[in-house]
């Protein structure tokens, strides 16, 4: 084989990555994508509401401030719920709890899944088999029913719910990170560093982690969507924390307070819309990041449209 030297370095031999490269890999595609930017904005709005909540709402959002199931008016832009509390106040304070649960649970999942994935991928062999076998067994057990059962058995505090969601979803992350770790481990600069005598922990922290983190972040964003969704399941079945309000709780309240019979759509629709928007936003952002890191979806070879033929000047006949 005699490839012509072109002076450009062969593509496989990427130089050792710098810290800035890591964030650009996932931030750039999001910034370029219009839908992703809209999603970021939407998410930002909700995060703002969650953080600024206590400042915007005076007093206890659950307090009865109006009649039961009052339709939207100037005073209550989204009407009141089955207890006479303002829907707007409930939604804003619900944002706080729902997002908190979402972020924390996702973080736990990411932590466990990431650790398991890196250990399995890096050390391979027996550790890998043992870890993956365990993961496989737990993957088959249905996630949502397991969460419901654990919640039913072990109590209904917010913290419990966070932990429950967190320990269910780590398996997805683990597989993904394991695959990535394996491919990073084979890269030239890692081999080089090892040849120079770098120890395992050093290799993991300085070489594997920077390469794996972008994917982990992308996955975590998707996990937030899963977590918020899971919370609505748990809460709807009456297993939520009775002292806190989350969007899932509001949907449950609407149901148990017979909002439907009262045709109080304002008690039913808004909390679901909020969940939808946040889940949608996180899914779009997370997916954009993941697609940028795993460019499998390159050009398709089929398309409905065709290549264009431009008219060319006809040659003079000799």
């Amino acid at each position: 084989m005699s490839p012509v030297q072109t002076g450009a370095p062969p593509v496989d031999e990427a130089p050792s990555p710098t810290r800035s490269l890591k964030w650009r890999a996932i931030a750039a595609p999001v910034l370029r994508n219009k839908s992703a930017m809209v999603a970021v904005f939407v998410l930002g709005v909700f995060v703002f509401l969650a953080l600024a909540g206590p400042l915007l709402i005076d007093g206890d959002p659950k307090a009865k401030v109006g009649e039961v199931f009052e339709p939207p008016s100037r005073e209550f832009p989204l009407g009141t719920d089955g207890g006479g509390a303002s829907m707007t106040a409930l939604l804003v304070s619900g944002a706080r709890v729902s997002l908190l649960i979402g972020f924390c649970a996702a973080a736990i999942s990411a932590l466990i899944g990431g650790t398991v994935g890196i250990l399995a991928g890096f050390f391979g062999g027996k550790t890998d088999t043992a870890l993956m076998r365990t993961t496989d067994y737990f993957l088959v057990i249905p996630d949502v029913p397991l969460m419901i059962v654990i919640a039913a058995l072990f109590g209904r505090s917010t913290w419990n719910i966070i932990v429950i969601i967190g320990i269910i979803y780590w398996t997805f992350t683990a597989r993904l990170i394991r695959a990535q770790t394996k491919s990073v481990r084979e890269r030239v600069y890692v081999q080089r560093a090892r040849a120079l005598g770098a120890g395992n922990s050093r290799l993991i922290v300085r070489h594997v982690l920077p390469q794996v983190t972008p994917l982990l972040v992308a996955n975590t964003v998707l996990l937030i969507a899963y977590a918020i969704f899971a919370e609505t399941f748990i809460t709807f079945l009456g297993l939520g924390d009775p002292s806190t309000i989350s969007w899932g709780r509001l949907i449950e309240n609407a149901f148990t307070d017979d909002a439907i019979i009262n045709e109080a759509w304002w008690a039913v629709i808004p909390p679901g819309i909020c969940v939808m928007f946040v889940v949608l936003a996180c899914t779009i952002i997370g997916q954009t990041m993941e697609d940028a890191l795993n460019p499998r979806l390159r050009t398709g070879h089929l398309s409905v449209r065709r290549f264009r033929v431009l008219p060319s000047p006809r040659r003079q006949e000799p």
Binding site: M1, S2, P3, V4, Q5, T6, G7, A8, T299, H301, S303, R305, R306, F307, R308, V309, L310, P311, S312, R315
Partner: protein, 324 residues
């Protein structure tokens, strides 16, 4: 002089870029291929050789725009794009792709896939098609019983040969081969080249061979075209290109080829090819050329005849020393 089987006139291909510009991937390529000719197209990655060959079959993505004429036995098949080109696919012009290892559908048997175009184009069906498949496999040196195998059950070399068999299914007149021997070991490579040469000689099959591996061209092809930055910079009979090189780029390409017998160092060509999203003024190779002069940067050299059927796009084509 045998009439040309395939005549390409002034072929240009542009690709729309996501940021709004256009990439001029193929710039005014003209070729003339007669039956039994084996044309080697060489050049660095990105020089436009694969795109040219894909254009000959109309296998361009919707982001592409094409102009020029592709005359198949006197008829312009590019005239209305997909409409006029698609009837000729596989029947008249067939292709063996780069990395043909993956050209097969992994869930279908080899024999079925080779027979598919036969049935599609009405060449043969049922038992007759099956018999043809077996004979094709024999021609490329694979046991006919392997027709019932799945692609993953064949070795890389065998899959490549099966891909050639598949390309020949409808007895095309022209076979386009894009890097058909890359990633194959030397022995298999030799077998495949021998096979292709044989087919060309026996059946009058015209071959267009895209590769960056020059020794293959020297060994197998009757003619060669060297591409750079989307253009043909030198073209002619292989002998002439090898013994009477008339373009600095071609010369450097030969020099960059490791030669077991020579004592010289391998020379690499410094620099990188130019970007094709802007128009280039002057000779595209000027920045890397060892003989560039002021004229080269200012004025673009056109292809001019420097020998029998031998053209070169260099201002100094005639005066370049002949390298043995």
């Amino acid at each position: 002089m045998t009439p040309a089987l395939l005549e390409v006139e002034d072929l240009n291909v542009w690709f729309d870029l996501p940021n709004g510009g256009r990439l001029h991937a193929v710039q005014g390529v003209s070729l003339s291929i007669a039956a039994g000719t084996r044309l080697g197209m060489v050049g660095e990655s990105g020089c436009g050789k694969t795109t040219t060959v894909l254009a000959l079959m109309g296998l361009l993505p919707p982001t592409a725009s094409v102009s020029g004429r592709i005359m198949l036995e006197g008829v312009d098949v590019l005239e209305r794009g997909e409409q006029t080109i698609s009837p000729h696919r596989w029947k008249d012009v067939a292709m063996v792709f780069q990395g043909a290892m993956n050209a097969f559908d992994p869930v279908k048997r080899i024999g079925e896939q080779i027979a598919e175009p036969m049935e599609l184009h009405g060449v043969a069906t049922g038992k007759e098609a099956a018999a043809r498949v077996r004979s094709l496999l024999e021609t490329v040196g694979i046991s006919p019983d392997r027709a019932r195998s799945y692609p993953h059950e064949l070795s890389g070399g065998m899959r490549q040969r099966a891909a050639i068999a598949m390309a020949l299914a409808c007895t095309p007149r022209i076979l386009l081969a894009d890097e058909p021997t890359t990633a194959l070991d030397v022995m298999v490579q030799a077998q495949i080249l021998e096979l292709l040469t044989h087919l060309s000689d026996e059946l009058g099959l015209a071959l267009v061979f895209v590769t960056h591996d020059l020794p293959i061209v020297a060994q197998t092809c009757t003619h060669a075209a060297v591409m750079y930055a989307g253009r043909i910079v030198e073209q002619g009979p292989t002998d002439a290109l090898y013994h009477a090189t008339r373009h600095p780029y071609t010369r450097l390409l030969w020099a960059a080829t490791p030669d077991l017998e020579s004592q010289d160092d391998v020379v690499s060509i410094p620099g990188v090819p130019p970007r094709l999203d802007h128009a280039i003024v002057g000779c595209p190779f000027a920045p890397r050329c060892d003989r560039a002069e002021a004229r080269c940067v200012a004025e673009r050299p056109e292809l001019r005849t420097v020998g029998e059927g031998h053209v070169s796009a260099c201002h100094f084509a005639e005066s370049l020393e002949v390298v043995a």
